[in-house]
Amino acid sequence: MDQASIKLIMTGLTVAVGGFMPALAIGLLTSKALEAIGRNPEAAGDIRTSMILGVAFAEAIAIYALVAGLIIKFV
């Protein structure tokens, strides 16, 4: 296998595998946040803000995988 084909395969693989855990994390976070809002609708604003914060952290990991894939493809 020459370098060009390995690059091609690894670009796709990096983004695909790197997206597993962040997707799971975001799903879990959002589900817990929704549960919490259901139990205590008054705190919805605070819970929503904290959820957005947590989702941003989890999303960042997926973005690192994406940037690594982009570097493999374009550099």
């Binding site: 604003g45 605070d46 803000t49 957005i52 914060l53 941003a56 999303e59 960042a60 973005i63 690192y64 994406l66 940037v67 982009l70 570097i71 374009f74 550099v75």
Partner: protein, 238 residues
Amino acid sequence: MLNISLAAEKIGSIFGFPITNSLLATWFVMAVLIVFSLAATRKISLVPSGIQSFAELIVGGLHDFFASVAGQYVDKFFPLIATLFLFIITANWMGLLPGFSTIGFYHGSEFTPLLRGATSDLNTTIALALIAVIGIQFFGFSIVGPHYGKKFLNFKDPISFFLGILELVSEVSRIISFAFRLFGNIFAGEVLLAVIAFLMPFLVPLPFLTLELFVGFIQALVFSMLTAVFANVAVSHE
């Protein structure tokens, strides 16, 4: 043909200092923000009207939002946080305007766009991340005092020393995470829009442009909110 390059392309130089297309876009963003502020504060009155009332809506809304996130020192943090938010959202949204990454000139067969979204350049986002993290350290030292350095260099016992080094590493990793979160989101959005416009230029890019508007807003919000939260954590360390 699709021209996607990770690095911003150089379009000129001033006294040997390279000017890239994202630098030009950054200057445009600065011009927009400065002209807007000048227009809004031209005839400041206690009862606002016109542009001043719109500007007060933005600044008041931001202040109320950050008051809930940033704790008791919100007035000290607010200039940094609100500037980061306004700059990043303006830069993100301006990168979606027609003409960005499409108007340019040819060198032989290579195409160099004249303008490129300001935050889609890693240099800009690293600079913003450095400003945010160094700003947090500055707030730490100015509000807590020289005692703040004890958080990182703690010579009481080996475990505290190790924890201090860990805190230092965590601060540096925040720079990387801030920079790459913003860069990755905006650059990936640009690549997505380029590919969709390449495949199907009529009507289909519309939902993706809406997505990019939303992503631009969320990334600005997340950047400034995280700065506020970390600043709050830094100054409440006793």
